[in-house]
């Protein structure tokens, strides 16, 4: 990430300790401002979103606080919630069966609201690796895992992972043996997916919290596997 994108950078250069010649603008000249959010083009969809929100508020169908609360709730979702489900499934076979049957209901058992859109867990096993994508747009279980990473929404990932999944996984650092089948799940209908990875060896006797820390966002998408950090 370029330092030009650090929000705090426009406070003068004293004390930064780097030389101005390599900095991209002449000495003595003001550092360029970081663009504000509003500096981009105001698109048709942005205008539509604002118009609908204004109408809903004006007609009293929702309040400003409800709108704020909903956005806050969406932003509070994170891969850590998915990791808790995986860790519980690893230690509790009955919970795992319920998770595979209905992720939303299993999440509710742990006090997690995974939203109204049904989510299905796909289970990695010896000889079977699963990875998720939405080739049509960017469907993602965001009400459980939070916003999708940018690469998940990029055309490169969406078009390539169904065409050459092994090459894509290798670029993520995941080299799979030919004996392991790669199964790609394309989220085209009203169903979202999360990957239930295999529990790594060397975690015998670990508690759920410690196990959950191994399960990252990319493990829940299937472009990585949980690994135990070297001791």
């Amino acid at each position: 990430m370029s330092h030009d994108h650090e929000p705090d950078h426009d406070h003068g250069h004293l004390g930064h300790g780097h030389d101005h010649e390599s900095h991209g603008h002449p000495p003595g000249q003001r550092h360029p401002f970081q663009p504000d959010l509003e500096d981009g083009p105001y698109s048709w969809h942005m205008a539509l979103t604002d118009a609908v929100a204004d109408l809903l508020l004006a007609k009293g169908l929702i309040t400003a606080d409800e709108l704020r609360r909903t956005l806050e709730d969406i932003d509070s979702k994170s891969p850590a919630l998915g990791a808790r489900l995986v860790a519980r499934a690893w230690v509790d076979p009955a919970f795992k069966a319920r998770l595979l049957a209905d992720v939303n209901a299993a999440a509710a058992e742990l006090g997690i609201d995974a939203g109204p859109i049904p989510i299905r867990a796909v289970e990695c096993k010896p000889g079977e690796h699963h990875v998720i994508v939405c080739t049509l747009c960017s469907c993602y279980p965001r009400l459980l895992l939070g916003p999708a990473p940018d690469w998940y929404k990029a055309r490169a990932y969406r078009s390539r992972v169904v065409r050459e999944p092994r090459a894509v996984l290798a670029e993520f650092g995941l080299e799979l043996d030919p004996e392991v089948a790669v199964i790609v799940h394309d989220s085209t209908a009203e169903l979202r997916f999360m990957v239930l990875p295999e529990r790594p060896a060397g975690t015998e006797g670990w508690d759920e919290e410690r196990l959950a820390a191994l399960v990252t966002r990319d493990c829940l998408i299937g472009v990585a596997r949980p690994t135990v950090p070297p001791a």
């Binding site: 790669v182 394309d186 085209t188």
Partner: protein
């Protein structure tokens, strides 16, 4: 899969049209998105199936094991039985 290319909105990716797959399971019964896209109700709802396609069926030049596959949610009107009854 039917090899159709209708105008308008649909949820069927191009890469599986005309390809042979196997039914995995029934997902649900859902309003038809091709109708909903034009402000209609999409009712009666149509079954949505998860269908498994072998990678070698989708991409004749696929370089990878035979067991590699893709699972796609398909709205039933896009399905047609195989001629050999399979």
């Amino acid at each position: 899969m039917k090899a159709l290319f209708p105008p308008g909105h649909c949820r069927t990716p191009f890469y599986i049209r005309g390809k042979r797959g196997r039914i995995l399971d029934l997902v649900d019964v859902e309003p038809d998105p091709e109708e909903r896209a034009y402000g209609r109700s999409g009712l009666p709802a149509v079954p949505v199936w998860r269908v498994v396609f072998d990678q070698h069926e989708l991409w004749p030049d696929y370089r990878g094991p035979d067991r590699d596959r893709v699972v796609v949610g398909i709205f039933e009107p896009w399905l047609e039985p195989l001629e050999d009854g399979g």
